[in-house]
Symmetry: C2
Subunit: 357 residues, 2 copies
């Protein structure tokens, strides 16, 4: 029987509660689909600052790099906001992305049929289905370029550098084209090539890599236009690929359009099969410890883990299907509750998914 080593980074706020439910689901999936999982725990974010003084202890990175995959709850909270910038929970997040070489962030923005009414967009704008795969470059660009302060013509200034190398764009392009090939065969590359030199390089490389993927229909949008199109007609998108900074903005916009932020999972991948999986929502310190957080995004992150890191496709599909069933049965955590549905807490929701597996 195959065994997988998974590192759990429970993190802060609601992180621990939702990871517990996701582990229950993963264990049940393992039983059914005949593999075993061994877990290790490590510290990241605020809790790591509290216990070790830094948001990403060396030991955490070592464990994650040795694991088959990593499951993250959420990090951050007001408690650590007075920390200096380079020692805040977010710094742990950026550090682990860089330290594990996770250059491809996959963020599906989907609408779950029973939650369709939660979208802030009108029904005729949403259309029949919404299923966008946002692919964000995650270890390059202005997030990791040179930055600092200096005097410019006698006045104080600050700068950051957006930089991309050809190989950095090539590898994220391949991830995006490969995903498009497995989905609707459409890829939209987003840049600001009418202004930025890094975007012109980005577009050149995308066009070059596109020659290897003639079965994928490629289009280009400027980032400002993409921000509009996501609101105007999100159904036009299949896979979208963009830089770290633009991806940060556009993938959040796309998630909000789905109306189901509490439901959305993400994967951060590098070369090989290793990956880090996490819900896209935050640590929600305001509701932490109350047992009312929605564990479904974390559970769906486990499904992505099974799909992208562990190659357990059947188990992945089974979890997706179980979540869909629970929604169809009308169960809702408070964040997605509407009149006429059945309100349940975090643990019950986790158990319902287990029972439907």
């Amino acid at each position: 029987m195959k065994n997988y080593n998974i590192v759990l980074l429970r993190g802060d706020g609601i992180g621990p509660e939702i990871v517990t439910e996701a582990v229950k689901v993963l264990n049940r999936a393992a039983e059914k689909h005949q593999f075993t999982v061994t877990y290790d725990e490590a510290l990241l974010g605020g809790i790591a600052i509290d216990e070790t003084g830094v948001p990403l202890p060396e030991e955490t990175l070592q464990k994650c790099n040795a694991a088959d995959a990593v499951l993250l709850g959420a990090v951050g909270g007001p408690k650590w906001e007075s920390q200096p910038g380079n020692n805040r929970p977010e710094a742990g997040l950026l550090g682990i992305r860089a330290g594990m070489g996770l250059y491809a962030n996959l963020r599906p923005a989907r609408i779950f049929k029973p939650l369709r009414d939660a979208s802030p967009l009108k029904g005729d704008i949403i259309g029949e289905e919404l299923d966008i795969m946002m692919v964000r470059e995650l270890t390059g660009g202005i997030y990791f370029g040179d930055r600092g302060r200096k005097m410019v013509k006698g006045v104080p200034a600050a700068f950051d550098t957006e930089m991309y190398t050809v190989p950095e764009v090539e590898r994220i392009a391949r991830v995006a084209f490969n995903l498009a090939r497995k989905r609707g065969h459409k890829l939209c590359s987003v840049d600001k090539a009418n202004v930025l030199e890094s975007s012109r390089l980005w577009r050149e490389v995308i066009l070059r890599v596109a020659k290897e993927y003639e079965d994928v229909e490629l289009s280009h949008l400027y980032v400002d236009n993409c921000a509009m199109q996501l609101v105007r007609n999100p159904g036009q998108f299949d896979v979208v690929v963009t830089s770290n900074m633009f991806g940060d903005i556009l993938s959040d916009e796309a998630s909000m359009i789905s109306g189901s932020i509490g439901m959305l999972a993400s994967a951060s991948l590098g070369d090989g099969t290793r990956g880090l999986y996490e819900p896209i929502h935050g640590s929600a310190p305001d509701i932490a410890g109350q047992g009312i957080a929605n564990p479904l995004a974390t559970i769906l992150s486990v499904a992505m883990m099974l799909r992208f890191s562990l190659d357990e496709m059947e188990a992945a599909d089974a979890i997706d299907a179980a979540v869909a069933k629970v929604l169809d049965q009308g169960y809702r955590t408070p964040d997605i509750y509407t009149e006429g549905t059945k309100k349940v807490d975090t643990v019950t929701m986790g158990q319902l998914v287990v029972d439907n597996l």
Copy 2:
């Protein structure tokens, strides 16, 4: 009687047609409110490339810098897409912003009551009213920083530099705070201070300038969160101030949320009263010359010109009111036409506004 010197940059595509209607309206306003206008014409964008070889001829910049205000139609089109980057119509736009020192871009995103249904957002998300003033820094940041290509560890790379000086942030902050003071007394500053050094400087300066405006309620949002909030609850915003790049993205997103892109005006201001006014929509080459373009955004840009450059507040209010009346009367150009309203062409729409003045 006061006389104002206005430079018209008709530009490309539908630009000439819509500027003609706006001039009709401005002339009528002048008559009624007792001032005179003299016009000069200059070339910008594609037409400037065709006639002089460059998108921003020296003569154009001189004329604009000598005028009381500038009215621009729209620039660009497929015809000039094969031009090298630094000689495309957009380069003319960036050149005139820099050359006139127009560091503050004001883009109101409004919903006109009779067009409320055009918003892609649900009625309960839009709420009673939507009236956001986006203030985008326009002559700094990554648009104008150092850029280029270089080899990095043996591979080709391209870079752009996001840079802000303290005085650059101070002056845009003052524009935004002053606007907030005249409106709802709320200002939201958008940055990415959890990652970017330039954003940390931005936030420091905003906080310092805020001390001069204790009557204005200041908040801060990260750009990714702002992209979400615009979709989730746009009514929470009054004035928003942000950098050139973030403003490009967020102001387009905000306009699309209004659902009335053909109706939205903009002002680009520097020190003193000089300014450039233009509709936010593009040159729409596909419908150019057909007489069906919507001139209302350009007409409303004239109202902004009267308000911000010429200090003719009554004339400005009168134009806004005339546009509202024409909409109330049910007249629509094809882009905003819905069943039960009266479809009119560009010239008729211009005349209707004149008649209602």
